[in-house]
Each structure stands twice: as structure tokens, then as C-alpha cells.
Amino acid sequence: MRLGSGTFAACCVVIEVLGIAVFLRGFFPVPVRSSAGAEHRTEPPAPEPSADALRDDFLFGSKGVKFMPYTTYLVEKGASHSFVAEAKPPTVTMPRIKALTTGSLPGFVDVVRNLNSPTLLEDNVIRQAKAAGKRMIFYGDETWVKLFPKHFVEYDGTTSFFVSDYTEVDNNVTRHLDKVLKREDWDMLILHYLGLDHIGHISGPSSPLIGHKLSEMDNILMKIHTSLLSQEREGLSPSLLVLCGDHGMSDTGSHGASSTGEVNTPLILISSAFERKPGDIRHPKRVQQTDLAATLAIGLSVPIPKDSVGSLIVPVIEGRPMRDQMRFLHLNTVQLSKLLQENVPSYEKDPGFEQFKVSEKLHGNWIKLYLEESHSEVLFNLGTKVLRQYLDALKTLSLALSTQVAQYDVYSMMVGTAVVLEVLTLLLLSIPQALRRQAKVDIPLSSPAFSLLFYLMFLVLSAIHIIVCTSAESSCYFCGLLWPVAGGVMVLMSALLCAIVSVLTKMFISKSLPSKNPAHPNSRWSELDLLIVFGTVGHVLSLGASSFVEEEHQTWYFLVNTLCLALSQELYRNCFLEDDGEPQHHFHMEPGIVDATPGLPYRTGCDVWEQDTVRERLSLSDMLRGREKWMALASPWLILACCRLLRSLNQTGVQWAHRPDFGHWLTSSDHKAELSILAALSLLVIFLLVQGGCSPVSRAALLLGLLGVYCYRVAIGNVLFPWQQDNRDIAKGIIEARFVYVFVLGILFTGTKDLLKSQVIATDFKIKTVGLWEIHSGLVLLAALLFRPHNLPVLAFSLLIQTVLTKFIWKPLRHDAAEITVMHYWFGQAFFYFQGNSNNIATVDISAGFVGLDTYVEIPAMFLTAFGTYAGPVLWASHLVHFLSSVSSDSALSHACFCYALICSIPVSTYIILVTSLRYHLFIWSVFSPKLLYEGMHLLITAAICVFFTAMDQASLTNS
């Protein structure tokens, strides 16, 4: 079967996406779940203020003493227990709320659904409390209302939509307090304060604003506590006040990963039922965040949530009689061992379960003794023994369950890896064919010899599948698939393998034949090609080190800079040496070492190396004269300077993320005027650079669209109009954003129309170029709308660099399609990081998903966020399509598509092997898995780009 190399590459990438999907499903652990219903039963109102992004050192550190005197007093002297609760990554609000209420460990995939927050279906404390007839009131973050839609008798959700607002969100919660505290018609009050988190996002944990916020929180806590105390004096039973943070904040103020600041949150339980004892504030005990669910459930006398892996926080029940303590611990152990039974087939051998059996027996003995004779030393001693035994069992069980979460589904991972590697091998093997002039790849899919191999392979794979699936102990995604689907995957795998084998045999046959041209095509590699190969290999290898994954932007900036220097060297050599009229020297190497072109006649002078560039030299002297030439010579330095400016716009990564950057300076509220000027200038530059290639209609649309972008930013309060003095009300800017969307769609539509027209009228070549440029400009307009205003210069500089490179470097130097593709890819990657992205989930700009939308709508929001995040690579790819179809020959586009597919799939395939081998690495969840998600998403986007490429290529084929 003969395929165009573009089509072939697109098919390969699509199959790779499937492989990655299977791999990801196996890699990300399936959460521990229980399926049975709740049964058993066992007191006091419990207000629970929780503050978003409350770090442990805010309370227990110097800041706590300074800004939170009342809380510090309670912790030191009051009837309270304080702990440091360890949150597990991902430290993002929704998974943390789930952990606090269900006691389970939400998987990493939950982050992706963070925005969506569908109703919490798993068993949780809130549901149990509702079933027990408790009346609950909630004020604070809207996420709770979405998770628990019908559970609260009264609620007021605050949206965390506007991160820049940190006073209103909290006043919204506090204004209800006075009323609620006077009433007595509720059992549980949950408050979730967002202000601290927002301050962290704006200005980091060392900002002076933090202090104000903390003292505000302290006053609120004092208010609640005093009112509870006065109620107790009136004869009500003692109440429990819980203060906790869902996650901390990193030293830059963001969260999502697993640095100490993000993971450690304070947990303070205050109740007059506790003994007053002077505790040591400096060293609170460490507990798990998941322990709170079990503790609250015991406190509220409701069943412990079924999926909870937490163990009861023991100091809380110390004041109760021994019999009660034992009963509570028994309840907890029973629940945990049930969960273990459902998730581990060989649970009976688990040490935790054995300990549980022993402690149950001891407990029975104790009860017998207790009923026979009360109050004796023997009883007390046995009791403490039982308690200790229970605690050990709890600890072991809880640990076993938590590690159960981190089990990999190795079989699915292997299947995914096998598919991806087979595709990559096929791509690599077909390089020589695909990059020939006619750009065709021969895929041997129907030769009879390989059908036998194919059936054998299929049989072997099915046998392996059956063996693995029948003997598997833990759950396996791939085994759970329907038979036809699994069979299809196996057919695919064996077909790919056969294709590889036949391509290899073909290569060997053609090698062993006396070949006609012994000359290696590779021996003429220029410095640029060497750089491209070494850069790609170096980048791929660097992904094995966690620091290089964290600081991947450094790798790309470094490579792009080196690329610019290599380009400038090439440019200088071409410009200066061509004027060199009197070549005095001649360097000659004997045939055999640089014997690339045996037939080339050696002329006098420095002609040997001139041969390399004879094409370019002609064009250079033709195209660049006078001032143009000097501009061409300066262009690499201009690009370097632009890259340096962009680099200091957004500091990303981990090690240097705390450094001051222009982005933070611009977004701080004092510099609104500067930001406005910069945004307006950038929009102007964008218009000037884009309008040249458009038709008049889309030029007007672009202008109006860019004006609309500015109006939208004014409406949501990011920037100012010159005539506008003070801050207006913040609106959502729905109308303005939709106004821009109309123009985006309009421009894209005109572009598509032009492309279709160029199909019909085969003669007119220009229409196609215009059409492609219009699609590019439509995407630019969309990116301008989605980018935060301080990132607009990134867009402007990206367009500027594209123009400069096209005009002064690519056109005069005539690089081939493969080199141009790789350069586009490198710049695309660098711009991904210039935008402020990193390999950390926390840097994804979610606000892009809400532009122009009233409420959260899943599909558009996902699409917009993905586009906003990957705007850099996508825009460079669309520029590549336009550039190649405007300058060069027929096969350029399919070459480019092939190279793009190859250069994107090499890192992904290597990375999944690296991740598989590093799966027990310390940083696997914090560093490597987010990167894996990014890589998966990147491959998906590459697949879309390759399909677009192929479509354009097909169009040009039908044309010619």
C-alpha cells in the first residue's frame, strides 16, 4: 500500500494517541472504592471553618503568634488539639475537599475534573450527616455546593472566579455569621474562606496582605468560639470547632504540587469537652488529612465513610471512658478491613488484617472481664493493651490501603507502550522513504508472507491476554475492556509488528544487493542539522532527570538561543564570504573522508565549501541588497533579544520561580496604567503584523476583533481606558468576549471559504495562501482574547519573530522543509514556556476556559483552556503550514507533516519508557506524572495538527 508520507504520519500519530490513552489509564491508579451499603450507627453541633491555602507555618510559625493571637492562645492554653495534617498531592481545592469529607485519596485524574466538580457520589461525612438528620449550613467556596448540591439546608456559594478579589469573597461568608450564630436551628456549620488562597495567587506567602487576612481570620475564629462558649453556658452540650486548611501554598503562592509548604496544613480541634492542657505549639503531631473524615464521623455519631482510608485521631477521644474508646477504634478498624477485603484479593494474609483479628479477640476478652467485674487493675491493663493493639492494626491497615492506591496496572501500561513503540519504530524506519522527493511511503500491509506471521502474532497475543487476565490479582483496565475492543487492539499490534518486520527485511535485502549509490546522504550534514539532532537527543535524555523536567523551559530557551546563533553563523558566512573576491586558499580532502559528491569538479578558490551553498549564494545576493542585507544580519540578534525579554516576562519552573518578573510587576494593581499601555501596544503590533496577508474583509474583522479584546479586558477590570479614572465594577465581560468570538469565527470561515475556492479554481494559487493566512490570523485573534493581558507581548513577539525569520532567514537561506519544521517546533515549545506554562498542573491558566461563558460548560471550556495553554505550539504550526504552502514545492507539506509527527512522538515515546522505569521514584507524583499528562495532551494536539496538515496536503495534491 502506498501512502503519502503526510497521511502516513497522521495515521501514526492517531494510533499513538490511542496507545498513550491506554498507557495513561494504566498508569494513573484507580482509586480504592467500596461497593457495599452503609449499616451501623453510634452528638454535638460542629462548626468547621476551613480556609483555602492555609499553611501550617501561618498558624504555628511566627506569623501565627503575630497575627493570630486568639488562635495561638487557644492552641497553647485552651481546650484544643492541634496537628499538622498532611495533604497528598494534587494539592488543589476539589480533591482536597473530597479527601476531607470522604477520607479517601482522590486520584490524580481528579484534578482534570476540578473545574467540572460533579456531584460527589462516594460515601462521605456530609451525606452520612444528612442521612442522620443533621441540619447543615454552608457558606464559602462554590465547589462545596456543587459537590453536595442538596445536602445543605442553607448555603451561599462564592465563586472563586475572580482571583484578583480577596476581600469580597470573604465578606460574602462573614456577613452571614452574626445571624447564624444567634440561631440554634443547625447542627453543623461549614465555612470556606477563599481570600487567603487568592492573596497567595496574587502576591505570594510573604506579602503584607497575608498578615491582614490572618488577623481577620483570627477575629472570625474568636467570634465563633465566644458565641459557642456562651451557648454552652446556657446548657447546651459541648460543641466542636475545627479549623483546617485544604492545602497550603508554595513559596511562590501557588499550589498543586507537593512542596512542604503546599502539603502541610494546620488542623485544630477546639472543644470544651477536651481537657485543658498546655501543649507544645512548636511541634504539633503529624496526621493525615484523610484522618479528619473518620474523626468527624465518630464525633457526629454517624458511620465512617466507606472509602475512607484514614484512622481516627486518637487524642480527640482520650477523654472518653475506655469502653467507648475501644468501640470507636473497633468501628474504624472494621471499616478499614472491609475496604481492604474489597480491594485486595489476598487480604487474609495482610498483617493489618491479622492484627485486627487479634485485637478483636482481645476486645472480646476485655468485654467479658468488664461484665464480670468492673474496676480492677487487670481490666485497665488489658484495656490499654487492647487499645494499643487496635492502634497498631489501624496504622497498618491505613498504610496498606494508601499504598494500594499507588499500584500500577502494568499490563495496560505494557500494551500502551508496545503500541507507541511500534509506531515510533515504523516512523523511524520509514524516514529514508518519506523524505525522498516524491514523499511516498510503502507500507507492506497485504503481502502473503506476513499474513502467517500476523496470525501467529495474533494468537500469541491473545494467549498472553487470556493468561494475564485470568491470573491477575489486582484490577486491570485492559482486561475489563470488551472482547472486540481488546481484540482490535491486538490485531493492530500484530499488524504493526508485521509491518515493521517486512520493512526491515526489505531494507536488508536492498542493503545486501550491490547498491548503486554508496554515497551516504548524511555526510553533508550542516552545523544546523547537527544541532537539531543533538538538541533533540539531548532534550529527550534530559527528561529522565526530575530537575530537568521541572526546568524544561531552560532546555528549550537554551536550544532556541543556540539555534539563533547557528543561524546567524550561517547567515554571516553566506553574506561575507560571497563578497570575498579573491579566494587565496584551497583546502582539499582526499576522497574517502568527505566524499559526498565524487563527481563535483573542484574549481579554484574556496569552491568546495561554496558548492554547499551555491544555491543560497545566488539567492542571497539577489534578494538582499544594501539595507536589507544589514537587517538580515541583525535579525538573529533581534530574535535573541526578543527571547531574552520574553524570558524575563514570566518566571516559571521551580528553582527560580520566586524571582521577580515583569509579569507579576504588571499584574499588580499599582501598575494598571502600564499594563494598559503595553496591552494596547501589543494589540497594535499584532494587527500590523497580521493584516498584511489578509483579504480586506478579514482585515476589518481583525481590527474590530482586536478592539473587542481590549474592551473585554477593560470590562473584566484588567486594564483601563485612557479616559477612565477609577476602577469600575467588575463584570464578566460576556458581551465583549462573544463579540470577539463572532469575528474569530468569521475570519476562520472566510479562510475556509478561500481554501475551498482554491480547490475549485485550480489555477489560482494565491487564494490558498491567503486562506491559510486567514486561518492563522483567526487563531491569533482567539489567542489574543484568551491570553492574560500581560501575556499579549508574547503573542506580538511571536508574530514578530515569525515575520523576521520568514523574511530574512528562511526565504534567503532556503532551508529544506525538514529543518524549517524542526525550527518551528522548537520555537513553538519555547513559546509554550514563554507564556508562563510549566510542567506543573498549577500553572494552567484555567480562566481562559471561562472567557465569554456565563457558567461552566464542559466542552467549550476544555477546548478554550487547551487552546490557551498550547497557543504557542499551535500558532507556530499554523504558521508552518502557511509558510510552506506559500514558498515551496509540492512535497514540502508532506515532508513537514512527517517531520512534525516524528519530532513530537520521539519525546513522548521515550518519556513513557522513562516513567515506567522511574515509577517508584520519589517525585513520580509531583514531577513526572504532571509532565506525563502534559505530554499526552501535547500528542493529542499534535495529532490534530497533523490531520490539518494532511488535509492541506491532500488539497494541494488534488490541485496538481
Partner: protein
């Protein structure tokens, strides 16, 4: 290809390597608390001075450029002045390139500049000695197949290997090992030095190895 030339080249290069080793070993005898990592800047100054001196001496003694004509004193003086200006220019250009590569603009200026100086010592100084202040000749030597003698060939190899060494030296900086040599610009200067030494060692061997294939028209 004359074996004596290659031998001469090898001895010259060994002398350069010896001078770099001395720049590490001798200063502790005179200076207190001298170590490459802690008093890195002092070492940079000493090393670049020593290497420049050795290069000049070698140039005067060996005289690889036999073709250069006798010229008047004033011509020589302008030539020396020009060389100095070229050297300073190359330092500044390297400094600018480092900043473009991401070196801090305002902090650590002295460190960055001394790194530029040492890299110029390894690359520009031998070029100036051998080729004189003629940019065209430089461009020729550093183009593919543009060298005309073993001296130029070895110059090409040492220069490229010191640049590549400096380039590779930047790689350990993002790693979180927290070693003293990961601090900017120590890893890069060390990389450049190792690259230079490697180039000095490799180039005679490489030329010896390929002596059959190499033939320079001019010699």
C-alpha cells in the same frame, strides 16, 4: 604532511595544558585560602593571564605564520592595538551572548564578565595570535573545509571544543544537587577549561591520525 610540524604542535599544546595546571597548583603557595571554587574569580584572572602569556610566547617562538611579511614598526603597533580592541570586543560580545542566554543582567556582572574574559582567552587570543585581526580569515577558518594548515586546523578544533565545553557546562545548573560548582558561572568556566584542554589534546592526535587524508595546498 611533515611529522615534525605535528610534533611541534603537540609540544606547544602540552605547554598550554601545563600552564593551566600550574595556574591551579602555584597560587596556593602565595595566596592564602586559594581554591578554584571559593576564590573562583581570582583563579579566572590568573588562568586567563597565564594562558594569554603562554599563547603569546608560543606565537613569538614557534612563528607558525611564516608567510607574514616583515613590516614597519608603526604597522606592528597598530596591529597590536587592533588585537587588544578585538579582544575587548570579543569579551563584550561574549558577555552579551551570555545575558541573552539567560545570565542575570544586573546581578553577578563581574562573574559573567570574567567568564567572557576566560572564554575569549581560550578562543579569541589563539585566533588573534595565529590569524591576526582579520575577520575574513576567521570566517574562512571556521567555515567547513576552510583551513589551510595544521595550525589552523588545531585552532579550529580547540576553539570549537572550548565553546562546546562552555555550552555543555551550562547543563548542570538546573539540577538540584546543590553542589558548590553548580553556581553560575563556575560550571561553565570549568566546562570551557575542560573543553579547551580536551581540544589541545585531541587536535594533534586527530591531525596525526588523519595525516594521510589531509593535504593543505599552501604548505
Amino acid at each position: 604532511m611533515k611529522d615534525t610540524d605535528i610534533k611541534k604542535l603537540l609540544y606547544a599544546h602540552l605547554l598550554c595544558i601545563f600552564s593551566i595546571i600550574l595556574s591551579v597548583l602555584i597560587p596556593p603557595l602565595f595566596l592564602e585560602n586559594f581554591s578554584i571554587l571559593e576564590t573562583h574569580l581570582t583563579w579566572l584572572c590568573i588562568c586567563s593571564g597565564v594562558v594569554t602569556a603562554v599563547n603569546l610566547v608560543l606565537y613569538l617562538v614557534v612563528k607558525p605564520n611564516t608567510s607574514s611579511k616583515r613590516s614597519s614598526l608603526s604597522h606592528k603597533v597598530t596591529r597590536v592595538l587592533k588585537c587588544c580592541i578585538y579582544f575587548l570586543m570579543s569579551c563584550f560580545i561574549f558577555h552579551v551572548i551570555f545575558v541573552l542566554y539567560g545570565a542575570p543582567l544586573i546581578e553577578l556582572v563581574l562573574e559573567t564578565f570574567l567568564f567572557a574574559v576566560i572564554l575569549s582567552t581560550f578562543t579569541t587570543v589563539p585566533c588573534l595570535c595565529l590569524l591576526g585581526p582579520r575577520l575574513k580569515a576567521w570566517l574562512r577558518v571556521f567555515s567547513r573545509n576552510g583551513v589551510t594548515s595544521i595550525w589552523e586546523n588545531s585552532l579550529q578544533i580547540t576553539t570549537i571544543s572550548s565553546l562546546v565545553g562552555a555550552w555543555l557546562g551550562a547543563f548542570p545548573i538546573p539540577l538540584d544537587w546543590e553542589r558548590p560548582w553548580q553556581v553560575w558561572p563556575i560550571s561553565c568556566t570549568l566546562g570551557a577549561t575542560f573543553g579547551y584542554v580536551a581540544g589541545l589534546l585531541i587536535s594533534p592526535l586527530w591531525i596525526y591520525w588523519n595525516r594521510k587524508q589531509l593535504s593543505y595546498k599552501n604548505n
